[in-house]
């Protein structure tokens, strides 16, 4: 009986970062490799991701939950795209100014309320337009990170993150106003941010 008790792991005693790594390392390594197609680069990205995550451990609640899982995947994915673009010296495609202007119309209160039930559909639509926009929006409004924290986590400048958040909101408003899905051709350089 004593041996059994000793074998039981006490999650509270384990280091949070170690626990996160132990739980999600395979998944995250897979996500990084799918984008980079290089084992060493994927390893580097994971190391960078965990260094950045270690600075925000206080914001992470439960280890085994969708919220934490989603957060880790978003960080690794964005860092992977950043690494990919760096290597290929590619310039990521952004939402064009034209489309942003078109979507600049005020969204009514009814639009927000009536489209709540379409949340999943809207999220999917946004991720198809630009998954990077969806990532930034999620980090900002769901995980409640500041723009400067987001910039640090995804290796972008504050101004770039600000502009892309504005464009992400504009893209969402356009989806709402069009009442359907809006697609944009993904570039070969890799989507995301």
């Amino acid at each position: 009986m004593l041996a059994v008790l000793l074998m039981i792991e006490d999650d509270k005693d384990r280091d949070k970062l170690e626990e996160l790594y132990k739980t999600y390392r395979k998944e995250l390594y897979y996500v990084a490799y799918q984008i980079l197609h290089d084992y060493h680069d994927a390893e580097d990205v994971l190391q960078t991701a965990f260094i950045k995550i270690s600075k925000h451990l206080d914001k992470i609640g439960e280890i085994r939950c969708k919220k934490t899982r989603g957060y880790l995947v978003i960080i690794v994915r964005n860092l992977s795209y950043d690494r990919f673009n760096e290597k290929k010296k590619a310039i990521p495609i952004d939402f064009t100014d034209e489309m942003a202007e078109e979507a600049d119309n005020e969204t009514s209160l009814e639009d927000y309320v009536l489209n709540l039930e379409r949340g999943r559909e809207l999220a999917e639509a946004l991720s198809k337009i630009n998954s990077g926009y969806a990532d930034l929006l999620t980090l900002k409004y769901y995980y409640d990170y500041s723009t400067s924290d987001i910039a640090d986590m995804v290796n972008l400048s504050y101004d770039v993150v600000s502009v892309r958040l504005t464009r992400a909101r504009a893209a969402l408003k356009r989806i709402l106003s069009k009442g359907g899905n809006m697609y944009e051709e993904k570039s070969e350089s890799g989507s995301g941010v």
Binding site: D15, L17, Y21, K26, G70, Y112, T138
Partner: protein
Amino acid sequence: MKKNPNPDREYKAQLEHSFLMHIGYEYVEVLCSGLDEVKEEWENVKVPESLDRWMNDFTAQERRMKKKRKYGFLANRFVRKAAVIILFLLVFNNILMASVDAYRLRLLESISYIQESFTQINFDLRSPGYKSSIPMNWDGWFYLTYIPKGYSLYDDNITEQSAMLDFKNAGDGRIILQQVSCASSQQLDTENSTITKIIVNEEEALLIEKDDFKIISWLQDDIALYLQGNNINVRELKKVAENIKRDEK
């Protein structure tokens, strides 16, 4: 409370924030669903051992840094507290020393009444002596029975409270005996002078030396006596003091 000038705009902003938060929530659901669909693929992924080793080293380093920061913070707090305590002790110590000094000074003052450059002397009462060549109305006052060679009576003065005998010699030498009843008190100029306690006629006396002047002050009977001499040595002046007598009628 300050009234919000644009309540509708604020409400809309809050609603937009909530809406976007909901979109974020749904997006995370979409992400997780997408990964669950390919679970078999990522479950069989082989993570490099070098990554595991790096992670072990990194977490160990983080733990050490955390401990260092914690101890640094505690040490900092301790040092600050210790500094406050030491400062308090120093201030308290200085106040105490000053107080002790002040107390000591007050005690001395109560015995000798030393105030700045003056020495005020008060006496208790004692018994009488004999007379020599002194004025006729010298009742009850003291007179000198020993005067150094060459000195003669130059002046005298008498009031209800005091009496004075002034002796001079051919040179600059002068001996003055002043005496006052203890009903009054005298102030002696003792600035830049040396004060020494001596015994005269078994009574405690003060010897005050200032430049060429010497004063012996003491109490005898109920009379305060001040014997002043210039160009005279202490031994001689003391001899004069020890040989004074009182005129008893």
